[in-house]
Amino acid sequence: MTVGQRAADETTTPARGWGLNTWDSPWLNFKFLLGVAIVGLILLFGLLGPLFWDTDLAYTGAGPLNKPPVWQEGGLPEHPLGTESNGRDMLAQLILATPSSLKVGFLAAIIGMGIGMVLGSVAGYVGGWWDHVIRTLSDSAVTIPALVVLVVIASYVQMTDTTAMALILAAFAWPGPTRLVRSQILTLRERSYVRMAHLSGAPALEIMFVEMLPNMLPWLAASLTGGISVAILGATGLEVLGLGPTRVPSLGLIINQATTNAALVRGLVWWWLPPIIILMVIFVGFFLMTIGLDEIANPRIRQFSSTRRERTAAGELPAVEHAGLRGGEEEDAALEVDDLHVHYFTPRGEVIAANGVNFSVRKGEILGLVGESGCGKTTVAMAILQVVQAPGRIVQGEVRIEDQDLVSLSGKELREVRWRDLALVPQGAMNSLNPVTPIREQMADAILAHENVGRLEVEARILGLLNDVGLPERVIEIYPHELSGGMKQRDCIAMAIALNPQVIIADEPTSALDVVVQRVVAQTLLEVKERLGVSMVMIGHDMGLQAQLVDRIAVMYAGNLVEVAPVGSAFSEPLHPYTQLLIESIPSIKERKPLNVTEGLTHDLRNPPPGCIFQFRCQHVEQICRERRPELVEREDDHLVACWLYEPERHSLIELEEA
């Protein structure tokens, strides 16, 4: 995915991509659909029941007293579910009671949702004083025990029908949706596609309905189904206490009559159990709908369950194939990456994020790993560190530090190597520090996990490390949110050098910082490297910064390394056409340059073409580039490139194949 494409994706409403009638629509969630089916069946029972059964039997004296259901001894076929102490037919009662219980729930939840949407939109969209008042009100209303107030209300207001009860219940159903809508609007407002709509001058209501509502839909639906079951629960609670409408049959009222007539003690199971079973089925139905909708609304949960399913289906993770060919083992390498393949197993196919990556980092050297967003450089970093996140997986290759292959290590062995030999300066230092613990503890954590040292020594070492990166001593007792971005990044560097590792992976260490702070952080990194002689892999896309910092540079494109060269020759005479474009695009004060890199398209990473991966964007593409993949070969002194242009024999190679 190119930079341009990614930006375009961000600015279109994601919900528009969700076809409701395609098979991979997120709405086709099993739990959600099962819940819909269950509630639908119950509803059908209530709606169609009167067509098949005489509901007049639901009134007092319609039949004999206390008859058990037909399958028990003494049961009568004309009262298949039995009768209770007033001679009322149970089946007829259930048929009448079920829809009225459902109706209260739907009505109350929908009214509550309506109020909540209006108040939440006002709070989230208008903001200011309105927001303050609405938020305060809903926050305190939500803590009032609703049923207590309901019970008090019900004891004064004689509720004649279910509508009155639904209205009263609705008075307690609005705070939840209000809070939800408000927070969703506040989040969505910051998304780029909503901002785009704003900038393009769309009216507020249109933005609300076209851009925001579709994205809130699963959340709102989850809140609605949750609200319905809470409302049914509230109504049933009142009915069970005998405080609901007494003239209309309802499931709660049947339970109330059963318990007040001691049906439990008298063993009249068929009196109290059926309404409870129907209610439980209703609650299970809405519960399934709610958690299904939660999964729809929150893709992380969906992804989490699906990766787990995949793992269970495939048994244990398949063993990694080890590369037979150890291409060019180097004597003085601190870190060797050998034929590394990382695939992401998505529902739409395998995405090849790293395709046979080979490189080594020499002792005391900084190797720059560059490429555009999405080219797989961060994936390579994560693979070196053995923290590729599901659904990604290292499918082949080795990562060696001191002849130890990290890919084949597991559990305790891997833990010992981590940080002691291989440390990370993370990409987002902003979020890389545990927000709830002070700096001292986070740094001590790293030291104490690997060394058995006393508290005082740890303290002294932390102070020393902070000093090394130019942070004041008071930082030790501070929480991460009290540090600036640059300070956090320097603290991460201090943490990375705590155990004097062999190799540090610096994943775009300066990308989120402003230019001045970038400089300070970059200098800190250089100083640290000079003093400790540590080897470093510096990942980034800023060619200018790379030029100043690194010794050698490795250029990555679409999961493949295309060029590895000393920084001098890489910048003075870049060989690969992609590297040439990258270097041409470095802005300069002296002349304005067009940005040529976005010309052409990247191929689909799930389905790489035969031949060279850069063929669609390359200006020098030839026949062989479309047919055979070029290998990374040393073409000049210490300068490796994967391109057919530098293969004098390329024409004969292709003829040979044809012959």
Binding site: S140, T143, P145, L147, V149, T236, V240, V265, A390
Partner: protein
């Protein structure tokens, strides 16, 4: 700026007062919005029961005066607040010489005990299950077993309670069905009594815990999954920390914060639900007393209990709020997020 700041405490305290004011005002306003007034209605019901009451109008007048219902509404409102502040709700109508407040304070310890135990249990069990469900390193056999603990989540407490009574108390005769203790034991700090109280509490507690822990587990699972994707969680792994340290200090420690907020907000619902549990188990707590007061038209006791429950709920929320900054150091900065 860590821990409690003056501004934060003040803000939370205002919120506390607002909640109490809102709840109590509702309880004051609602009966007066209803057609007719409580006294006329009560006398009306009495006359229905007794057939005829002499001088019904005079009775209504004198009762109205007695309860201060003849005063203008704003005067009534101020008087009502004075009473709420002094916890003076007058005499119980159904148990006349007893004061309403006495009846309520007798019931309170039972409810508080039952609910505290049930809430602590369901919250801690639920959070543990949820954390394990949302953690990638949880052993697979555990991952397979854990979801079964959510079985009863969708069932309301009291229905589960009814079935427990039927199965465990009546059919199997293992545990007592109703009440807080048997008549045959001597109330006091003696071992048989404590044992008796505990056996009576098992069924109500179990019905609350089994049905409510799943909600906490589901919420915690979602939160834990989010934390799994945080940068600091990744860095903790790369640092080579032990899995248990990552799980507790980096995972649960962060994921539990919104769950605690939810606990504070959900207390109202929890206390509400307990009314039905107490009703089903005839457990002599505030909920059961409230039910009896309503059935016996005991206007003063109803008001006293409703106010008390609101007060207790608001106070617990306030206390949780005061604890929060010690658990989340960022709270004084991002208080507007809630």
């Amino acid at each position: 700026m860590r821990g409690l700041t003056k501004e934060y405490v003040l803000q939370r305290f205002l919120m506390y007062l607002l909640t109490i004011w809102l709840g109590s005002t509702l309880i004051f306003v609602i009966p007066r919005l209803a057609p007719g007034d409580p006294v006329s209605e009560m006398v009306g019901r009495l006359s229905l029961d007794a057939g005829y009451i002499e001088n019904a109008d005079k009775l209504i007048e004198s009762w109205k005066a007695r309860f201060g219902l003849d005063a203008p509404i704003h005067v009534q409102y101020f008087r009502y607040w004075g009473n709420v502040f002094r916890l003076n709700f007058g005499y119980s109508l159904s148990h006349f010489p007893t004061e309403a407040w006495t009846m309520v304070s007798d019931a309170l310890p039972w409810s508080l005990g039952l609910l505290t135990v049930a809430t602590v249990l369901s919250f801690s069990i639920g959070v543990t299950i949820g954390s394990l469900m949302g953690w990638r390193r949880t052993p697979r056999w555990l991952q397979l077993i854990l979801p079964s603990s959510l079985t009863f989540t969708a069932i309301p407490y009291f229905m589960f309670g009814i079935m427990l009574i039927y199965l465990v108390a009546f059919e199997l005769d293992w545990l007592p069905a109703t009440g807080a203790y048997s008549r045959r034991v001597d109330p006091g700090w003696n071992l048989p009594f404590i044992k008796n109280v505990l056996t009576h509490a098992i069924l109500p507690v179990v019905s609350i815990v089994l049905t409510s822990m799943g909600g906490w587990a589901l919420g915690m699972r979602g939160l834990m999954i989010s934390v799994n994707n945080e940068d600091y969680f990744l860095l903790a792994q790369v640092k080579g920390l032990s899995p248990s340290r990552i799980f507790f200090r980096y995972g649960v420690r962060n994921a539990i914060l919104p769950a605690l907020t939810a606990l504070a907000l959900g207390l109202g619902g929890l206390i509400s639900g307990s009314i039905l549990v107490e009703f089903i188990f005839a457990y002599p707590g505030t909920g059961y007393t409230l039910y009896q007061a309503i059935i016996s038209q005991d206007y003063t006791v109803t008001q006293a209990i409703a106010n008390l429950i609101i007060l207790v709920t608001a106070t617990s929320v306030f206390l949780l709020d005061l604890l929060y900054p010690f658990i989340d150091p960022r709270i004084t900065y991002k208080r507007n997020m809630r």
